[in-house]
Amino acid sequence: MDVHTAGQCADALVETVALTRRFGARAAVNNLSFAVGRGEIFGIVGPDGSGKTTALRLLAAILDPTSGSARVAGHDTVREAEQVKARIGYMSQRFGLYSDLTVAENLDFYADLYNVPRAGRAPAVERLLRFSGLVPFTGRFAGDLSGGMKQKLGLACTLIHTPEVLLLDEPTNGVDPVSRRDFWRMICQLVRERVTIVVTTSYLDEAERCTRVGLMHEGGLLACGTPGEVKGLLHGAVLELRCAGPRAAAAALRPRLEHSSINVFGDGIHIVTDEPAGVEEKVRGILDAAGIRTERVRRIEPGLEDVFVALLAPETGARHGE
């Protein structure tokens, strides 16, 4: 598979071709082409404003593209928007739970919205409550749930009509680690039932869980592939350095190690370099001269964050955050 262009799938449940959406002069989504096969978890990662949310809204058939096209669950998002909507679950960042309805009432409300027949609804609701771990909270007002439980209820509501494709926009933003783990357990379960999932996140440890990831930047995909393939795009290698006083060490290394990027990670340092062989000796030499004891230097598997920073930093120039 070509990791730069996202490839095609035999059994694609989501497929976009040169998908573009402009707002005035700005292309929020720009010539985006990718395909997601049945039962895949496709993660879209990217900085704020890179077009993740707009892309998801185009797939959800609630926004029309300026040009290009998308097929989701076998239907065109413009010409067959209603068919698409009936077959997908879309959880936006501000998913509409009714805070003055109980957990059970919210599920019932979404069942009505999606025309889920009354017959057979009770067992479906029961199953979703069990699935989301919300059985003990069935009678609680949604407004009184914790952030993590709200997200689980949101996901349960999104699933009431058993969609084939699930579109999740930063579903774990602001959710604590335990709830986040629960949330991913739910996603795992859905994948087992062959639901296809497209999820946006700004957290790269979550991207590692996805079958494939697309790195979005300025409306397009900068890279796309399995987490392993994307990591393979990093030129050079990542060395992990453990030493006394990592911040002083980084300050000593930065001016003397050209063509390497040096980042402090709490009690260690990551050095991304094109020539790992020579660098270790050089690092030890520089730190010795600075009076800093080197505990260990070893080559590690790059994280997606290393790749992300390496691919994006040249694009955004010296100043981050624009």
Binding site: G46, D176, S202, R209, R247, D267, G321
Partner: protein, 318 residues
């Protein structure tokens, strides 16, 4: 080195609810200390006590050398505070926000301009001084908020979930600023429930249900406290493999992870053997199974779940 934060047996009750239950810890000058835990674990209540806003119901402590019970007002002069919401005025410009906070912190007019220039340079906002704050991207706002919080040169800065909703590149740049501050001797106390942020701290305390349940450097916690092993399994048809792995008695938990699985097990070698046999038999040909260093999230989730199981056992026994 001096301890900028020192607390012993800190406790705060609200009625019968114990929000903070006997926390003891020390933070050295210039250290970046991460206070990590789920929502409602007691992180914010602890910070409020450290800032001298809320008196403890038991225990004692000092911040910047001042007693949190008796010298709360002195503490407030020496600390900076930045919240998740950034507390900036959206309809003021960058310059106006800085002027406003200079007033709040009563920075003498003789040094005010120099401090504001310093904050602007630190945040990299030279070209945006007259921009309306609401027009700034998340990463810029975050750096402006930090600039405002350290205008008065506090000895300690408390950052309460400072990076929610900020992208990875901006986060990285924000942490470079934090390291700069720490390098100048400022102590940084940061709360978060994002594990990638926890990785950036010198030391971490994990708080859960009001108790400190782990304390150490990220490396110590990843290599020292988790009793179970995490196995990375590379095999064919991972979705089917997940079901097979869950049926293995030596595997406590399995999850899809990228193109493979992660399995958590008490006995790594037994689990490796069982997984290999079961997966191969099911046609999910195994190419590799090996123990990996757990992530901080693996460690924390495992500690928290062990804590919950112990609490449930205690309840069942009572």
């Amino acid at each position: 080195m001096a301890n900028e934060v020192e607390i012993v047996g800190l406790e705060r009750r609200f009625g019968s609810f114990v929000a903070v239950n006997g926390i003891s810890l020390e933070v050295k000058q210039g250290e970046v200390f991460g206070f990590i835990g789920p929502n409602g674990a007691g992180k914010s209540t602890t910070i409020r006590m450290l800032c001298g806003i809320l008196p403890p119901t038991a225990g004692s402590g000092s911040v910047a050398g001042f007693d949190i019970r008796t010298q709360a007002e002195r503490i407030k002069q020496h600390i900076g505070y930045m919240s998740q919401k950034f507390s900036l005025y959206d309809d003021l410009t960058v310059e106006e926000n800085l002027t406003f906070f200079s007033g709040i912190y009563r920075i003498p007019s003789a040094v005010r301009k120099a401090r504001m220039d310093w904050a602007v340079a630190m945040a990299g906002l030279e070209a945006h001084r007259s921009a309306l704050t609401r027009t700034l991207a998340g990463g810029w706002k975050q750096r402006l908020a930090l600039g405002c919080a350290v205008l008065h040169e506090p000895r300690i800065v408390f950052l309460d979930e400072p990076t929610a909703g900020v992208d990875p590149l901006s986060r990285r740049r924000f942490w470079d600023l934090i390291y700069d501050l720490a390098g100048r001797g400022v102590t940084v106390f940061v709360t978060t429930h994002y594990m990638d942020e926890a990785e950036y701290c010198d030391r971490i305390g994990l708080v859960y249900r009001g108790e400190l349940i782990a304390l150490g450097s990220p490396n110590e916690l990843k290599t020292g406290v988790m009793r179970e092993a995490v196995l990375e399994v590379a095999c064919a048809r991972p979705q089917d493999a997940l079901e097979v792995a869950e049926r293995c008695t030596s595997v406590r938990e399995a999850a899809l992870f990228g193109a493979g699985l992660h399995a958590v097990a008490a006995d790594a070698s037994r689990a490796t053997a069982e997984l290999r046999a079961a997966l191969d038999a099911a046609g999910c040909t195994v190419s590799r199974i090996e123990p990996i260093t757990p992530s901080l999230e693996d460690v924390f989730v495992s500690l928290i779940e062990a804590h919950d199981r112990a609490a449930a056992d205690k309840e069942a026994a009572a």
